[in-house]
């Protein structure tokens, strides 16, 4: 039985920097069944209404990762997003290129920064030729070891996470969720011989700029859950090297801080992260806040049952490595 049709009003971002002219939105109207993927609708537009519409795509099956774009402001795969729910929620469909990557033309973006960040992670097995694997066992892994990869091998490098990431938007030093999820995949690979070096390096190469907003995990069409693997990387980096950066010092300082009173001592935490000298730089702001909120200079109460907290720490956080 033929499915009911919906009228799809699709506003597509158009821009051709080389040809001149300002960016604009062009409206197309089509009659389509509601299950039609956005990509199919765009290809219909190109075939029937405007052959100059420029976009990337290939497999149409959510495997190649080419057709990520913003659909009603959310970064997702056009081939995997049906038009029906979008129209039901928003009344129309606004199509824009991915964020955080420069525009080339229409929906095509310049992915140089995305791939450069990926390359910086050295996303390949690093082995020491002087320490070869035992004969005949070069690539063997147990099922339990494979499980350590979690969902990361599913990544299709579509860059939806990179487009959704506010840390990428605000700071070029952040490699982005996909690059870090790939890094995780090699850090936990038992065949890789650069684990320690990878964990030491990443502390200074942007790991601590993750905002753990989980927008990447929300955007990922393959449920790779990059934000959770970035959290794992932070814990592994601290275990490998301790608090060498402000980010790791802050996490370790916070952990120690709670051990003492069971709740946060705000002033002390600033000292733990910045050191005495660094804290002087924050003093002006601290004074401004203190005038309105004088209790920030007082020690908080110690919670009742603090001895229980201490015992939990003793059992589960025994190694003082890197703690200060």
């Amino acid at each position: 039985m033929p499915e009911e049709m919906v009228t799809a009003q699709i506003d597509v971002f158009r821009h051709d920097p080389a040809g001149g002219g300002a960016p604009r939105y062009q409206r197309f109207t089509l009659e389509l069944p509601p299950h039609t993927p956005v990509l199919t609708a765009l290809l219909r537009i190109r075939a029937e209404q405007d052959p100059s519409l420029t976009l990337r795509y290939s497999c149409r099956s959510a495997i190649c990762g080419s057709c990520a774009m913003q659909i009603n402001s959310k970064s997702r795969l056009a081939c995997q997003t049906p038009i029906g729910p979008e129209i039901a929620e928003h009344g129309r469909i606004v199509i824009e290129p991915m964020r955080n990557q420069g525009g080339v033309r229409d929906l095509v973006v310049d992915q140089t920064s995305f791939w450069e960040a990926y390359d910086r992670m050295r996303p390949h097995l690093i082995t020491d030729p002087l320490r070869p694997m035992p004969e005949g066992r070069e690539t063997s892994m147990t099922p339990a070891q494979v499980e350590q990869f979690r969902e990361t091998p599913r990544c299709i490098a579509c860059a939806a996470c990179y487009s959704a990431c506010p840390a990428v938007e605000a700071d070029a030093a952040f490699p982005g969720p996909m690059a870090l999820a790939k890094l995780y995949r090699f850090v936990v690979d038992p065949r890789d011989q650069a684990r320690q070096d990878r964990l030491v390096r990443i502390q200074t190469e942007g790991l601590w700029l993750c905002l753990r907003c989980h927008l990447c995990t929300e955007a990922c069409p393959k449920d790779v859950r990059p934000s959770e693997r970035i959290r794992d990387l932070k814990e592994m980096a601290i275990a490998a090297q301790g608090g060498t950066e402000r980010g790791s010092r802050h996490a370790i300082g916070f952990k120690q801080n709670i051990r003492e009173r069971g709740q946060l001592n705000e002033m002390k935490l600033v000292l733990q992260t910045d050191g005495i000298l660094g804290s002087v730089g924050q003093a002006g702001q601290g004074f401004k806040i203190w005038r309105k909120k004088p209790e920030i200079s007082k020690k908080p109460r110690r919670i009742e049952g603090i001895e229980e907290i201490e015992q939990i720490y003793e059992a589960l956080d025994p190694k003082p490595k890197g703690d200060r």
Binding site: E89, A167, L264, K292
Partner: protein
């Protein structure tokens, strides 16, 4: 209703006005807050970066305290909400339980997984109901355009929170409309405030918070409101830094969620701790009663 009150560290320290406003609103709406001086910090998204298992164990202890009293748990902070919910999820994983249960058992603590962690927003909208709140409004906030700012961990990761819609939430806006304010829709409302890296790379954090404030302002907001005291630190206490980061005076009043509800229900600014804000709220207050 009766619920275990988990104020979190900031509402007991620099964000004390949030605690004041929460108590006032809950008293007014008949929500009995049961207090436990034994609660410890939720870990704030930092302790788990250093040691996830430790963090889950600390929060399993918190949850067990509420469970022993037969109560659900009320949070007033998106991050507390996220971290305690994360512990609830992790405590369903056998491998995690195998490490944590024996440690807690030595302290005669057992967590059975029965406690629901509810943010004040959820309690107000789902348990009390926007209509019941609307009926109690004495001073509708008519004329005040408010940009709700959710705070990441109230919404994400979806799998853990199971919230109504992490991408297009409506609960906060529904509540704002019920108290007479005009909700402002803008992209930044579900984005990050920058707080997690405020002490790691302040200049980047300030740019991020400025971005959301500018977005709210450009969509017509006279004020912003947040259910998270960490967002409040970033958006209010450090707004001067955000202004400097973008080279313009932002002057955006930022309310804690229960402060706006309290204002509409008739509380005075002093009862709600409004004079404690770094950015004065008076310009937004002056909008009350003007045509929307």
């Amino acid at each position: 209703m009766k619920i275990a009150y988990y104020p979190g560290c900031v509402a007991q320290e620099s964000g004390r006005e949030l605690d004041m406003a929460t108590r006032w609103v809950c008293r007014k709406l008949g929500i009995e807050l049961v207090e436990f001086p034994t609660f410890s910090c939720c870990g704030s998204g930092f302790v788990d970066e250093a040691n996830l298992t430790l963090n889950v164990a600390l929060n399993a202890r918190n949850l067990a305290i509420a469970e022993r009293a037969g109560l659900d748990l009320l949070t007033v902070c998106s991050t507390c909400q996220g971290m305690l919910t994360l512990a609830n999820v992790k405590m369903t994983e056998p491998a995690m339980r195998a490490r944590i249960d024996p440690v807690l058992a030595k302290l005669q603590i057992a967590y059975g997984g029965k406690v629901r962690v509810k943010h004040l927003l959820e309690v107000l909208v789902n348990d009390i109901g926007v209509e019941a709140i609307r009926a109690k409004v004495r001073r509708p906030l008519t004329g005040m355009n408010v940009g709700a700012f959710y705070g990441c961990h109230l919404l994400r990761p979806t799998l853990e929170l199971g919230s109504e819609s992490a991408e297009e939430p409506r609960a906060f806006e529904d509540l704002l409309a019920a108290i007479g304010a005009t909700p402002v829709m803008y992209r930044g409302r579900v984005m990050c405030c920058g707080f997690p890296i405020l002490f790691v790379k302040p200049e980047t954090a300030n740019r991020i918070s400025a971005h959301q404030i500018v977005d709210a302002r450009d969509h017509g907001a006279h004020a912003m409101a947040t259910p998270c005291p960490l967002c409040h630190i970033s958006l209010d206490s450090f707004q001067n830094k955000a202004s400097a980061a973008v080279g313009q005076k932002l002057n955006m009043p930022v309310f804690h969620l229960p402060q706006l509800v309290g204002l509409a229900l008739g509380a005075s600014p002093e009862e709600l701790g409004l004079p404690r804000h770094l950015v004065p709220v008076e310009p937004a207050m002056a909008r009350i009663g003007t045509p929307p």
